[in-house]
């Protein structure tokens, strides 16, 4: 006995008469095209009904109006080259937006939520199903934290104290989700960690300080 299965998608063919030929030309191309599309969209549909297990927030980028990266936090595992490529693309896309446009961009299967504060763009990539408006609030909360910590924060603060900006972010967001909703508690934790850091620094001699030994 010979096993018969369903027709493979690329075996679609038309029985053609001479006059069907015009239609055939287009239909075969089209059937190839559409089968590819249907297949892809079917997979999208089927994986859509089973939730795609990605982190809600995939990454957060801070960059200047000239496209210089000031902070990048990734919550998904990607290679350095991939990260660079994605950053470049996203930065280009966001910088191309006109001021009156809405804060949401669709990109691949993610949504990019961005907001400009003075000379810095704050940009988050979230899953398609996310509530974009609350993501805007999360961005705003982070800016408020920075502002409180640095006292009227400006881009230079973040440039020269980038590691502090990371520490603050890591006290607010863990694994792509907000871990603490109270500003006070986040700032207190940072303050205490900073104090710990100061205590840990062994007292140094004056000569060491000016780099002479």
């Amino acid at each position: 006995m010979e096993w018969v299965g369903s027709p493979k998608i690329n075996q679609l063919w038309w029985d053609s008469s001479l006059w069907g030929r015009e239609l055939k030309l287009n239909t075969c191309e089209r059937s190839h095209l559409y089968c590819a599309r249907v297949k892809i969209s079917l997979t999208a549909v089927y994986s859509g009904t089973v939730r795609t297990y990605q982190d809600n927030m995939q990454f957060m980028l801070l960059f200047s109006r000239q496209g210089k990266l000031r902070l990048q936090k990734w919550y998904v595992a990607l290679s350095d080259t991939q990260k660079k490529k994605i950053s470049r693309e996203v930065i280009q896309m966001v910088l191309a937006r006109k001021p009156k446009m809405c804060s949401f961009l669709e990109w691949r299967d993610l949504k990019i939520v961005y907001k400009r504060y003075a000379s810095l763009y704050f940009c988050c990539a979230v899953e398609d199903q996310e509530n974009e408006l609350i993501t805007l609030e999360i961005i705003h909360r982070y800016v408020e934290l920075l502002d409180k910590y640095f006292g009227s924060v400006c881009e230079l603060d973040i440039i020269f104290n980038f590691e502090k900006a990371y520490y603050i972010l890591d006290e607010f967001i863990l694994g792509g989700e907000a871990q603490e909703t109270s500003k006070k508690i986040v700032l207190k934790a940072i303050e205490q960690a900073d104090m710990l850091q100061e205590e840990a620094e062994a007292p140094r001699s004056v000569l060491e300080e000016i780099g002479l030994t």
Partner: protein, 784 residues
């Protein structure tokens, strides 16, 4: 060796660089210094050097040689070192490099450190970039910390657990006991992260979902307290108490209430309360309202609540803030299937959004407009949409054109209107129209017999104006080829007939052949059209001349056609009239119905899928070509479409593949029923050949997990012939929520008893399963 320069110093220096080359030079110099410092195993300045390295990494320079140094910093006892070390690990290391596993022991120790900030660092790093191996090793520690009374650590442990579950789903059960009293916490941070953890568990496992349903009353209470409590300075955002927590709770409620009546009922009140009491002047309020609307639409809410939700969306549409409008359009798109009438009320606002400046809003508005088109509003809507088509960006034109064609096909009030609309699209956005619309249009025109004269006249006039838009030209040449005689005889009833001579028509067609603007495909169309006119026009000599010229065309396709046509003239002239006569009416392909499919609430894939992707066309395989001939040999090919079914969440509606076949009186039978997979056969007789039995298999799955990659194969004894069509899908949804159907045609000329062996392969819970079975219990009527 002098002390390495400080971080701030380095940053200042690099910023003074005026060119990229200068910057690169500075950085290389510093990297060299750092490298030699690393070689010297200098503990004092390692921290500073790594910090500088991280800065240079952010500028885009390679920093991989710092990876091991980060590990050394993490292992150090100084808090400063650990801080920078963990930051470096998160920035420089990732799970692809084996080096990261060296961190595991350090993290383990730090998770048990006496200082909570060190523990916090470890939890943060693990929760951010822990690989599956690390998560497996350290899950126990995380679970321990999840039970601690220290709220600072507990909240971090909860999110870390979420990460562990995402990486290693099997470990989920391990965190179950610790979730017992997570919600009785007072601390908002712990509450928030607990809700995230519960959400993750519920989304991943239907068992967990059922288990956590009992938390609904508690969640409702917490939410109520948040709304009713007075001003709380710690959590207040523009007058709303802890919006982040509110949104997360609403989301968890959504998941718990979906397809469960009791839970949904328990939530009705609080949802109504949130929907009516939330302050909407700031973005925060709207964020909560938005989440509420999403929840209301997803659970089994009462109709009053649903109307409230849609009205909220309607108000959003009128908001000045673009973001709110965008969000409203997105949600309306999701709900338009289920609450069509409610959304219709906001149609005019939606159509106005077509004129918005923002690209994302325009796109959403366009998709929504197409979803709202129906028999009543087609004329008005089409006017707006055609106006939109004229003025929109090229990116939109293809989608808009397809949408217009689909809508016109479904709801055209009259044939003339239909053809006019198509003409309008072809003339305004002709080059953006998809390739497949040409055959579709041709079929449409063929089938509207009474409009032939009008159509060909309008197309001819359009051709005179402009021959650059290929789809238009192709359709036009095809029509002129078919109905040229109507054109010349001036028979048009619908509008003023134009006076056109045969020569003028042939001039136009020949013009297409030589024009640089014509694509090769178009040239093919016009050559064939000219040939067809040889039986309809009297100037045959001219046509013969044209055809023979192209017999030596460089384009192989044209050459072949011309040579064949030449042969027609010379050797088969007696056959020519029969061959070139009018095309018969073609069988209508089933259009994909964009708005009438199975709804799954909240899924955008459904509308995106159906409005953009026409059905796939199935045809018999080459092996079974004989069967095709036996099936009554129509010279017009019959197109069968197979629309896939979506695994529906409720109701499991199926789209009938070959709905026209009537069910004969043959009883269905169960062919196979084992391990939760049940396959039923239903029978039909196909006309016109009584030797062919058409069997439809229905595969359903009563286990708790979906069966994926489901493949059905069959074999029959040599006296039979078998043909399988495409299955509706290859996922058999769990718990009998839907079934996969596939059609089998069996040719049984000798009327022998039908026997079949079937082979089933599928994947269940990650394990592949294969089974063979014999099917012998066919009812006698199916093969007699």
């Amino acid at each position: 060796m002098p002390a390495p320069i400080r971080l701030r110093e380095l940053i200042r220096t690099i910023r003074t660089a005026r060119t990229q080359a200068e910057e690169r030079e500075m950085i290389q110099k510093e990297c060299a210094a750092i490298r030699s410092s690393f070689r010297e195993e200098d503990n004092t300045y390692r921290c500073r050097n790594v910090a500088k390295l991280l800065y240079m990494h952010m500028l885009g320079y390679p920093a991989h040689f710092g990876q091991l140094e980060c590990l050394k910093l993490i292992a150090s006892q100084k808090f400063t070192d650990k801080r920078i070390g963990y930051l470096g690990a998160m920035l420089l290391l990732d799970e692809r490099q084996d080096v990261h596993l060296l961190m595991t022991n350090c993290i383990k120790n730090d998770l048990n450190h006496s200082t909570q900030y060190v523990q916090g660092l470890a939890l943060c790093t693990l929760g951010c970039m822990g690989s599956s191996e690390m998560c497996r090793d350290l899950a126990g520690e995380v679970e321990k910390l999840l039970k601690t009374s220290n709220s600072y650590l507990r909240k971090k442990a909860a999110l870390c657990a979420v990460h562990v579950i995402r990486k290693v789903p099997e470990l989920m059960e391990m965190f179950l006991p610790a979730t017992k009293n997570l919600l009785s916490e007072k601390n908002h941070g712990v509450l928030h992260t607990s809700v995230v953890l519960l959400t993750e568990m519920c989304e991943r496992s239907p068992d967990m979902l059922t288990h956590f349903r009992k938390l609904v009353p508690q969640l409702v209470r917490i939410l109520k307290n948040l709304i009713m409590s007075g001003y709380s300075p710690e959590h207040d955002v523009s007058g709303i108490s802890d919006p982040f927590l509110q949104v997360r709770i609403l989301r968890l409620l959504r998941i718990l209430g979906k397809s469960d009546d009791d839970s949904s009922e328990a939530m009705n009140d609080i949802l109504a309360q949130v929907a009516t009491n939330t302050e909407t002047s700031k973005n925060v309020g709207n964020a909560i309202l938005y989440e509420t609307v999403l929840t209301i639409m997803d659970i089994k809410s009462e109709s009053g609540l649903r109307v409230l939700a849609i009205n909220i969306l309607g108000r959003f549409l009128l908001n000045n803030d673009k973001n709110i409008r965008y969000v409203a359009l997105t949600s309306l798109l999701k709900t338009v299937q289920t609450d069509h009438n409610a959304v219709q009320r906001h149609r005019s606002t939606i159509v106005d959004c077509l004129k918005d400046l923002d690209v994302s809003i325009k796109r959403r508005a366009m998709e929504l407009s197409f979803a709202l088109v129906n028999g009543n509003n087609i004329r008005g809507m089409m006017k707006e949409l055609l106006y939109f088509l004229d003025s929109c960006d090229p990116d939109f034109k293809a989608d808009c054109a397809s949408g217009v064609f689909l809508a016109a096909e479904k709801y055209a009030p009259s044939k003339r209107w239909h053809i006019d609309t198509i003409m309008r699209v072809l003339t305004t956005a002709g080059s953006y129209v998809r390739d497949d619309s040409v055959p579709n249009l041709i079929q449409l025109i063929t089938n509207s017999v009474e409009m032939h004269a009008y159509t060909v006249q309008r197309l001819y006039k359009a051709l005179l104006d402009d021959i650059s838009q290929q789809p238009l030209v192709q359709v036009a040449s095809w029509c002129i080829g078919e109905y040229g005689d109507l054109l010349v005889s001036g028979q048009c009833e619908e509008e003023e007939p134009i006076q056109v001579t045969e020569d003028e028509v042939l001039d136009v067609l020949e013009g297409l052949l030589v024009s640089n603007l014509s694509a090769p495909v178009t040239r093919g169309y016009s050559l064939t059209a000219i040939m067809k006119l040889s039986t309809r026009f009297s100037s045959v000599n001219r046509i013969k001349k044209v055809v023979s010229i192209y017999g030596s065309s460089i384009d192989v396709e044209l050459q072949q056609r011309a040579v064949e046509y030449n042969a027609l003239f010379k050797k088969y002239d007696h056959m020519r009239p029969a061959l070139l006569e009018r095309m018969p009416i073609m069988e209508k392909t089933a259009t994909n119905g964009p708005t009438e499919i199975v709804q799954t609430n909240g899924e955008t894939e459904s509308s995106a899928l159906d409005s953009k992707h026409p059905p796939s066309i199935t045809q018999p395989t080459n092996q079974a070509n004989d069967l095709l001939d036996l099936l009554g040999g129509n010279d017009v090919p019959v197109i069968q479409t197979a629309l896939p079914t979506k695994p529906a969440s409720a109701g499991g509606e199926l789209l009938d593949l070959l709905g026209d076949l009537s069910l004969s009186g043959i009883p269905p039978m169960t062919a196979y029923n084992k391990n939760g997979l049940k396959i039923e056969f239903t029978f039909e007789r196909s006309n016109p050949n009584p030797n062919i039995s058409v069997i439809t298999i229905h595969a359903s799955n009563s286990t708790e997990a979906d069966m994926t990659d489901f493949v059905f194969q069959a074999a029959v004894p040599k006296t039979f012939q078998l043909q399988l069509l495409s299955p509706s899908s290859n996922i058999v949804p769990a718990l009998n929520q839907g079934s996969v159907t596939q059609v089998i045609r069996v040719l049984n000329p000798q009327k022998q008893q039908l026997r079949m062996r079937i082979k089933l392969t599928y994947t269940l819970k990650g394990a592949p399963v294969q089974d063979l079975a014999e099917v012998n219990n066919f009812p006698p009527q199916s093969w007699q």
